[in-house]
Symmetry: C2
Subunit: 474 residues, 2 copies
């Protein structure tokens, strides 16, 4: 696709000899310079072509990461943290080469404090791993971005997903971080108290900083009691607008839905094919309710009434765990289901989030825009309780102009979202792909504050350089 | 009391002549240099002696604040925002003189977006005013720090209060801010979307920054549907430990209590006298439940069972709005009730917050420490669902050594809390009073990050200088 960067490179740049020999001596066979390893660490789930780091090192502890970053600082080598590689906007592409620090082997659950409803993990622990390890405590970690991402990566991108409408995003659910700063020092951003007014919010500064201010090595997150009862249901609607109005009223009445996901007819069709389901192929809401038996029943009845007011069809229930699991697995595989609508294509995925009052309008204008490019299949799904939705645009690598056309749709979508007081990214982050939109969203004066922060925390510009915000006004 | 600052001053310093004449010409009778006005703006609810600004100006708009700050920047004059003056840690004392910018007349509710559950207000709007103005929408703003503080001030101190256990603090409830930066520019920190991953979290950087990074002029906050049903109840316990264990189990079972406040026997007695109540004078929990009729009933039954398991006495219910209001008014007047335990004294109020698993131990060791100073009455109340509690220590201005003795109790309390992975301030903020504890809590390397942020956002050190963190290592 069209690269916003002038010099992508598959070639190996020259790393300082002393730097390479120091790392090789210290980390032995955990230090790599093979092309295969560099390629694996030079791409993510975005549509960007790979951009390779010059070397890769697997760290096993905060102390090791601190050593590595100190060495990078000494030699002015860019450093990019790597978790599971599931980022979607080119976050970890090595646009200036440098060293990829892979934390996937830092995968130890350090402490579970069940009474306090917190867990502290190394950055490479994935959300599914954490939930398996804490199962017996009666607690769970709800944030669910679809991919089985690492908690370090989820914190770094301020991730969320299907449960955010009830449980919030990583912004609300990170209690504290251990971070290696750009000069190789180890800092803990906060204590484990549930609230604090003790100075600047270092935790929230690093949540969403995408490796550009420091490397997250440990994460303390909030846990929640496993709900006594869970039920899930699907409900179809005649129009997108009806479905969205149903969600707005549900939220406004304070019904504490745990999940409310929207799929358009095209996505329902794709999911039916991929997951062998027989869902009605019209705009659909997929609900999940958490609570006591009585509360779940009450929530469900209330939402059914609201749905009826908006011409919703009958609710189809999935009360058995296996049916529920099938439904949510299908939802989580929607990305792959979508890709198969036109095999051989690559997906450009949008991620706007608007005030929910503007959601129906935002989707409607986007559908109309997509219809002007009928050769580019488009599918929509969304975490509509938050006003956040994704359009998946399937572009054919054999027709490079389709990339530009799809980016045009995305750009117009983002501009409309920003005019509606929304954001260019609800949960994926900026990476490389969203950088051009930040001026439109925040204005240059706000970006100057972000630049000042970046310069203050990373004066040598070695931490994942060239991401989020350009250091000079454009 | 013992001032941590070398040169408190009641004397008027010399402001640059051109600065004074420019402000006088621009703001006319909204610009003040009288001692009475300066005194009013040079103190808060802390036990510190006043430290006066050299002048006071009443701003009416973001544009005016920007003009004022630009002028302060040009003339290197310190600038301190002032809302209602209800801060508790010396936040707004003019330790280096300068200009107090009073935003209390910026008291307009700018927009209520009921469908999106948000309201945008000028910084001087108080929480009670907002709730009156939005009453007809069926929504409310829950954050309740006791005082009828301004929303700008609440954002600046990361305030919370009795409802935080259910609804979170200002950290979670501020959607976006309009801020005047140290060079007099106007920045909006975020759009109105419920979530965003679009760059560094400027909103959370300014929430809790106590006027040291910029002046908050507008605040967009989350609103919540007024609950269908509310009930309140009090329950007495034989010991502090029983009460706290009851709270831990309630939280751990996921009961969504809206409020759970603890008062020790001394505080119950003070409240009985002050508010003419007849509460049983032993450790007490004051609960509030929000939800549907059925859900409130279910929550209350569950908590009653839990209380019974911890030897709680019978619940006393306050279901009628007027009874409930009487109870909560009594709770909110607890500070004044406490002061009357020994008339003529001043209160030093502590504010630690610990992981809830350590709360009983934290309170018990503190009680034991207080008992060694029987001539200093001590009373304890707390937002125990969050692990946050306040000890009110009544010191006699006629015996200056009592200040030092009370500060000793506070210091030991804070040190123990930090060793329990807690914080020196759960909700009051740092101001002047908590500055000495930040090294203990965060370590010098984390404070260096805070210093770097302060220098980056306020290179001339004119924004409420000398608060939160000293610019050099001590």
């Amino acid at each position: 696709m069209n690269q916003p960067i002038p010099h992508p490179s598959l070639l190996k740049r020259q790393l300082p000899e002393t730097f390479v020999s120091a790392l090789a001596a210290r980390f032995g066979d955990r230090f790599h310079t093979t092309e295969a390893m560099r390629l694996h660490h030079g791409r993510d789930e975005s549509a960007f072509d790979p951009m390779l780091p010059d070397a890769v090192v697997f760290a096993h502890s905060t102390g090791e990461v601190a050593e590595i970053v100190a060495l990078c600082s000494e030699h002015d080598v860019p450093v990019i943290p790597y978790g599971t590689g599931s980022s979607l906007e080119g976050h970890l592409l090595a646009i200036r080469g440098g060293l990829s620090v892979d934390v996937s082997e830092m995968n130890r659950v350090i402490a579970v404090n069940a009474e306090d409803l917190t867990a502290t993990v190394q950055a490479g622990v994935t959300r599914k791993q954490l939930n398996v390890e804490i199962k017996d405590t009666g607690l769970f970690f709800p944030i669910d971005p679809g991919a089985d991402a690492s908690l370090g990566g989820m914190a770094a991108t301020r991730a969320s997903g299907t449960n955010a409408v009830r449980y919030g995003t990583m912004r609300e659910n990170v209690v504290s971080l251990t971070v290696v700063t750009a000069d190789g020092k180890v800092v803990r951003t906060a204590r484990r108290a549930r609230k604090s007014s003790a100075g600047y919010d270092l935790t929230r500064i690093f949540v969403g900083s995408e490796g550009t201010l420091g490397i997250i090595t440990e994460v303390t997150v909030k846990l929640y009691p496993q709900p006594e009862a869970i039920s899930a249901a699907v409900c179809n609607f005649a129009t997108v607008d009806d479905a969205v109005r149903c969600v707005i009223q549900t939220i406004q009445m304070g019904v504490p839905v745990a999940r409310v996901e929207f799929l358009d007819a095209a996505f329902v069709k794709a999911v039916n094919v991929h997951s062998k389901l027989a869902l009605h192929e019209s705009p659909l809401l997929l609900f999940e309710f958490h609570g006591s038996e009585a509360s779940v029943k009450e929530q469900a009845e209330l939402v059914q009434e609201i749905a009826k007011d908006h011409d919703g069809r009958e609710f189809t229930w999935a009360t058995h765990p296996e049916d529920r699991s099938k439904l949510w697995t299908a939802r989580h595989n929607a990305y792959f289901a979508g890709l198969q609508v036109k095999p051989g294509t690559r997906a450009i995925t949008t991620d706007v989030c608007v005030p929910i009052s503007r959601l129906a309008e935002s989707i409607a204008t986007t559908v109309a825009d997509c219809e002007r490019s009928p050769h580019i299949p488009s599918l929509i799904l969304g975490h509509v309780g938050d006003g956040n939705y994704h359009v998946m645009l399937l572009v054919d690598p054999a027709h490079p102009d389709e990339f530009a056309e799809a980016e045009g749709i995305n750009h117009r979508l983002v501009s409309r979202a920003i005019r509606m007081d929304g954001t260019c990214t609800g949960e994926h982050g900026v990476g490389l792909h969203k950088m051009p939109f930040l001026v439109e969203e925040h204005g240059e004066d706000a970006l100057d504050l972000m630049r000042a922060l970046k310069r203050a925390f990373d004066p040598k510009n070695i931490m994942n350089p060239g991401k989020i915000v350009a250091l000079e006004r454009g």
